[in-house]
Every structure is written in C-alpha cells, then in structure tokens.
Amino acid sequence: MSTLTPSTLYLGTAIALIIVGFAGLLVRRNILKMVLGFALVDTGIHLLIATLGSNPGKAAPILNTAELAADPSLVVDPVPQALVLTAIVIGLGVTALMLAYVVRLFALKKTLDVSEFGRLKW
C-alpha cells in the first residue's frame, strides 16, 4: 500500500462504489433510489472482479498478433473478464425487472416510500 498503482485506485473506486450503493440500499426509503443503489453495488463488483484479473504489464486476452499468438503467456487471465461480461448482462436484466416492479408498485400505492409496502401481498 506504499505506492498508488492503478490497480489500487480501481480497487478503491470499486470498494467506494459498493459501499455507496449499500448505503443507498440501507438508508434511502425511496424504492427508485434503492434500485439505483443496487445498480451501484453491481457496477462496483464488476470493477472489482475486472481489476482482480488485470495486470498492467500484460496485454488484453486477445491473441490477434503473431507475437501474442506465439507466446500466449503475455496476456492476462480471460476468466474474470468473461465472468464480468456475464455479470453485466445479468445485472441489466435484474435492474430492468426491478424497475418494472417499481412502476407497478407506484401504480398500486401512488408512492415510492418503501415503508408503505408492508404487506406481502399486493
């Protein structure tokens, strides 16, 4: 932790995003802002995983030059990037579904305050 490398910076940003997102989830009463908090956590986790799989001294895992194809050990681990790609798509789907629920909940009670929705059945 003595030097501020780009990786440290990315990890710090990722952790900050996750914390801010969870703070939004815990403190806010507005459902829409809670969904935004969830999206922030999501983004933070993507950044975290992508950073854990990065290496400033290596190339992206695309072997499209003769040099890289001859020595594939010059590229970083492709698995975290593949996982993040999956996670982004799933996160998008989940956020869209949550927003649809928010629209439906607002139509029901004409409010977005989460404490108004105490009953399990709509």
Binding site: M1, T5, S7, T8, Y10, L11, G12, I15, I18, I19, F22, A23, L26, V27, L48, T51, L52, S54, N55, P56, G57, K58, A60, P61, I62, L63, N64, A69, P72, S73, V75, V76, D77, P78, V79, Q81, A82, L85, T86, I88, V89, I90, L92, G93, V94, A96, L97, L99, A100, Y101, V103, R104, F106, A107, L108
Partner: protein
C-alpha cells in the same frame, strides 16, 4: 439509531473489502486459466480468448445467461402488460434534431452492432455487446417516433429461432464430439485470426447477438409503452 446501525454495518463491510487491496497486485493465471490461454488457439482458433471462454469452454453458462435475460425481459413484460393504474406519461413530440439524427443513425448503428457480434471471436465485443448496440438503435427510433410500431411478430420469431438454434448447435456438438456445445468436428476450425475461424463460436455468438438485440428492443418497447394511457383496442392515439 437505525442510521447508526447502517453506518456500523457499512464500516465493517468497507473494512472487509479493504483487505482485498493487496489482491490488486498482479497475479499469475491459475491452472484452468492457463490451459485456456495456452491451448485456446489450438482448440478453438478464436483470437479472442474471452469469447472462447464464454462461448465454448463455458458455453453452457452462456446458454443459462441468455435464458436469465429472456426470463427477466419476459417478467418485465408480464408486470407492465396491464396498464391500468399506471400514470399516463405526457410526452412532447420529439424535436427535429432527434428525428433527423435517429433517421441518420439507425442504419449505421444496426450495421455496427452486427459488425460487433460477427467479429466477436476476433476483436473486443461479441453477441451481448453487439445486441446492446442494436437495441440502442431501436431505442433511438422509439425516442424519435413514439408511435412507431415495432414488428413484434418478426422479432419474437427471430428470438425464438436464435435461441432454438443455439441449443441445436450445442446438440450437434453432443452428437459429433460427445459433449454438449463441443467445438471439435462440428464445423471446420479454419485459420486463426480470419473471419471464418473458430468453428461454432461465431455461429453461436451471432445467434446470441440476434437474441439479445431483439430481447432488449422488446424490453425498451415494453417500458416505453407502459407510459401510454390504457387504450381501447383499435383506438387511435
């Protein structure tokens, strides 16, 4: 009191995440990842290793991922289908700039999206990214002309065919090479770094691109239409 509890919880969580910082130091890929890196070209002929992992090594995951996306889009459509009780959105007609811009950009965006998912095994990008670009073109169209009717019949047909073909390609691998979604012997692997390479990888990624593009377009259409007043069938707007 509640906020103090939240603060303590967040601090604990931040402390736990902070211990991850030393992990930010570059690490060497593990055993499995090393196999992907060292044998990726030999086994799949795809230059983009991320695509090889997503479509081939973990292709079954991707099938599940596409299913999850389909389910969430279907869920959103189901939840927003009944418009009673939803507040009608009063929308101003879109501006001249938006209309002209949408007309200009629609075709290039579709072509660009198709380019991204066709070249998924060669360059950054792939089915999901290209599908998102295609959907952004559709969103531009819907923003410019709120009454635009998307060809729903064609879109759901395309989506079903793409999803079905993905499974069929997987079954072809099962029949030829004995494992679902296998890339060995189904299609010729071709030459590395050429458009026609990678065996079934580009085929699957094109199918995924079509599926994701139509799904996200349908999602955007559902969400935009949920703001319309509940109209009687055949009524005009």
């Amino acid at each position: 009191m509640k906020h103090i509890f939240s603060l303590v919880l967040l601090l604990v969580m931040g402390g736990m995440l902070w211990t991850l910082i030393p992990l930010g130091q570059p690490t060497e890929p593990g055993e499995v990842a090393n196999h992907y890196i060292q044998h990726g070209i030999e086994e799949n002929r795809g230059a983009n290793l991320v695509t090889s992992v997503i479509v081939n090594y973990r292709g079954f995951d991707t099938l599940g991922e596409v299913t999850v996306l389909f389910l969430s889009v279907a869920g959103a459509g189901f939840v927003l289908r009944r418009r009673d009780g939803l507040t009608p959105m009063v929308a101003r007609p879109s501006s001249e700039i938006l209309q002209t811009g949408a007309r200009m950009l629609f075709a290039p965006l579709i072509v660009f999206g198709a380019y991204i998912f066709v070249h998924g095994h060669l360059s950054p990008g792939g089915g999901f990214q290209g599908g998102a670009v295609v959907a952004s073109a559709v969103m531009l169209l819907l923003l410019a002309d709120r009454d635009h009717q998307l060809p729903h019949g064609f879109m759901s047909w395309l989506e079903s065919v793409a999803g079905f073909a993905f499974v069929l390609v997987g079954l072809a691998g099962l029949m030829v090479a004995g494992s679902f979604l296998s890339n060995q012997g189904v299609l010729p692997l071709g030459t590395w770094n050429r458009l026609f390479s990678g065996g079934v990888i580009p085929v699957i990624y094109i199918l995924v691109g079509l599926k994701v593009g139509t799904e996200l377009s349908a999602l955007l259409d559902t969400m935009m239409n949920s703001g319309r007043p509940a109209e009687n069938p055949g009524g005009e707007h």
